[in-house]
């Protein structure tokens, strides 16, 4: 059964519509699919460029790892290395603290190297140093096997006669710094974020939040400078320790750098908790602080966890502050007031002086790979926590 209208049309005189009947000027022909160059090109170029960002990650990964791989390859026949005299006596417990002070970063003078590891005082060592440097330059590839064995040892003497690449002391140093910095930064940043999210009035918040976030705008070399020039002296006067630059100073300085990250993400997590939680708690007669600590904080825990993780990641890989404020001595003691050397600082200090293709070169890239993996994993965990658990918690699973 046709609609009435359709029927009436069919019974009327059918007027054949001439094409020129259209009052619109010009035919609009929709039947030819037009190929538009600019659109095609634009799409191809845009897609191509976007893909490059994935490519870059893969490239970075690949190249950093590639340059560290030679360590693990089988050793070539070793040239007989020179002096049998091991520089045994010269490493070990540091006797003279003041020597620590001199080096902050780039090693420019070989004799300095010997001094910083707190050892030899007599001149023969200087000769050995010179010899060992040339030896290692030539025997780079050859000592791979033995170098590999030293990786987990405790001694970091990459430029001594028999190079030892014990990462252990560097790892300890890095962990010490990270621990101190997070112990300092996390409580401060989290409490401040709680204030900003749960207690502060609108106007106060508008002053506090941007000021703390301004901290993120300080380049790390400036924070390092501040630590080196001012903070170290200040803390030394307060705590009366011997070494001016140590893991404590470095840790506090790194903490300062980590505060903005922990603060911002924690604050975001706290404000992301639905307002309804807040209202429900207050309506039940709880006070502001009870609501903040017993309702909102628990709900935001995954986000806070992620914030601290990201703070850790930041500190772990920080180079400039480490170079300037930690004393740069590869030591392993538990004392926070002694100098340390971090993984990142080692790369920063030694890469410029290293011979391309040398074992030392490869080990530095290996350290880089370790840093890469570590921060990658931390980031992945943090993301998992924020995306997965935080969202689930708020949506109630």
């Amino acid at each position: 059964m046709l609609p009435e209208y359709y029927f009436s049309i069919m019974t009327k005189k059918i007027k054949k519509r001439k094409k020129s009947d259209t009052s619109n000027s010009g035919l609009i022909d929709i039947t030819k699919k037009k190929f538009r160059w600019s659109d095609y090109l634009a799409e191809k170029i845009i897609k191509g460029v976007a893909f490059l960002s994935i490519t870059i990650i893969i490239l970075i990964f690949f190249f950093v790892f590639r340059e560290s791989m030679p360590i693990f390859s089988s050793a070539k026949p070793a040239e007989t290395t020179v002096a049998s005299q091991e520089v045994q006596e010269t490493y070990g417990e540091v006797t003279d603290q003041s020597d620590k002070q001199e080096t902050y970063g780039e090693v420019t003078d070989q004799t300095d190297v010997q001094e910083t590891y707190g050892d030899v005082v007599d001149t023969t060592a200087a000769n050995v140093a010179a010899e060992s440097y040339t030896v290692s330059a030539g025997s780079g590839h050859d000592d791979n096997q033995s170098a590999l064995k030293t990786l987990m040892s405790k001694e970091w003497y990459p430029v001594s006669e028999k190079p030892r690449f014990g990462l252990f002391s560097l790892i300890i140093g890095t962990f010490k710094i990270t621990l101190i910095s997070i112990l300092f930064a996390a409580p401060l940043a989290i409490l401040a974020a709680i204030y900003s999210a749960s207690f502060a009035g609108k106007r106060t918040k508008e002053i506090i939040k941007p000021t703390i976030e301004m901290l993120a705008g300080f380049p790390s070399v400036v924070i390092g400078f501040f630590a080196l020039m001012v903070l170290a002296t200040f803390l030394q006067e307060v705590f009366h320790y011997e070494t001016r630059l140590n893991s404590f100073v470095g840790g506090i300085a790194m903490g300062i750098a980590a505060i903005p990250i922990i603060f911002t993400i924690t604050e975001d997590a706290l404000t992301a908790v639905p307002k309804t939680f807040n209202e429900a708690s207050l309506a039940l007669g709880a006070s502001k602080w009870q609501t903040a600590f017993f309702v909102i904080l628990p709900a935001a825990t995954p986000g806070i966890f992620a914030a601290v993780l990201l703070g850790i990641g930041r500190v772990f890989g920080e180079t400039m502050i480490a170079l300037m404020a930690t004393g740069n001595a590869a030591q392993m003691g538990m004392n926070p007031f002694e100098s340390v050397r971090t993984l990142a600082a080692t790369i920063g200090a030694e890469m410029a002086e290293v011979v391309f293709g040398d074992t030392h070169y490869n080990v530095l890239f290996l350290i880089g790979s370790v840093l890469f993996i570590f921060t990658f994993v931390i980031n992945a965990i943090a993301e998992f926590y924020v995306k997965g658990k935080l969202m689930k918690r708020i949506q109630g699973k």
Partner: protein, 252 residues
């Protein structure tokens, strides 16, 4: 063979697995105002958007059946969609002028089509603004930002913008629903004038509006075309009970 401007046969549309339009067959004549009415979610806007293939922008949309405009199946793979949209223009529910001047908004379409000559553009802009019954209000401030106009003016500007491309059909998706009564009546007047030159298809949830301005009315319900007839008949003596129920307000 069909005689009408727009003709569909057994058109069905799926959003993924959900069927949104079922077996729509309709013939819409040219240079008249056809209104689509029906309760929310009944598919009338979806159907409207199929007529200029704006549904292509949504993922997972599948269309079966034929939609013919001027006897050409617009879903044929040889069709140039970009050109189709110059022939079939659209005015949206919420006015969406570009963040440019009034002049540039209207000139956008012609510029895209390659018109570069300033005098030509001026002429097209003026004609379009006149046809959209807004020329008098803006002729002295063509350089001002379009965002400074009122809601009703912005919508008329959007109509002018569409007209500047010289389409044959103008689709309107609830063009006055976001406007106050005064602006609404101005737009309604405009639509009645426009049908002299253009084929108008308008979706509206306002039955009285449909009754006021349209020549033909199609009643959609739950993705199906229930009844399509002269407006007068639909509103005074509909064939289907569902239509009658909707018109008299028993549901919707």
């Amino acid at each position: 063979m069909s005689f009408e401007k727009i003709h569909t046969e057994n058109m069905t549309l799926h959003y993924g697995s959900k069927m949104a339009l079922n077996n729509i067959s309709i013939s819409i004549p040219e240079k008249k105002v056809t209104a689509f009415i029906g309760p929310s979610g009944c598919g009338k806007s979806t159907f409207l958007r199929s007529l200029n293939r704006m549904n292509d922008l949504i993922d997972g949309v599948k269309i079966e059946g034929k939609i013919l405009i001027d006897d050409i199946n617009i879903y044929d793979k040889n069709i140039d969609v970009v050109t189709l949209r110059k022939k079939v223009g659209m005015v949206f529910q919420k006015s969406n002028p570009f963040a440019k001047s009034i002049y540039e908004n209207v000139a956008y379409g012609p510029r895209i089509n390659g018109v570069k000559d300033k005098k030509q553009l001026d002429e097209i802009v003026e004609t379009a603004l006149q046809n959209a019954a807004i020329w008098g209000e803006v002729k002295d401030r063509l350089g001002d930002s379009a965002m400074g106009l009122s809601g009703g003016q912005q919508q008329r500007l959007c109509i002018a913008r569409t007209l500047a491309v010289n389409p044959e059909i103008v689709l309107m998706d609830e063009p006055a629903s976001a406007l106050d009564p005064l602006s609404t009546s101005k737009i309604e007047e405009l639509i009645v004038q426009l049908k002299e030159k253009y084929t108008i298809v308008i979706v509206t949830h306002n039955m009285q509006q449909a009754a006021r301005i349209s020549d033909l009315t199609a009643f959609f319900y739950l993705g199906e075309l229930i009844e399509f007839d002269k407006t007068k008949k639909i509103f005074t003596n509909p064939d289907k009970k569902q239509t009658e129920d909707y018109i008299t307000g028993r549901f919707g």
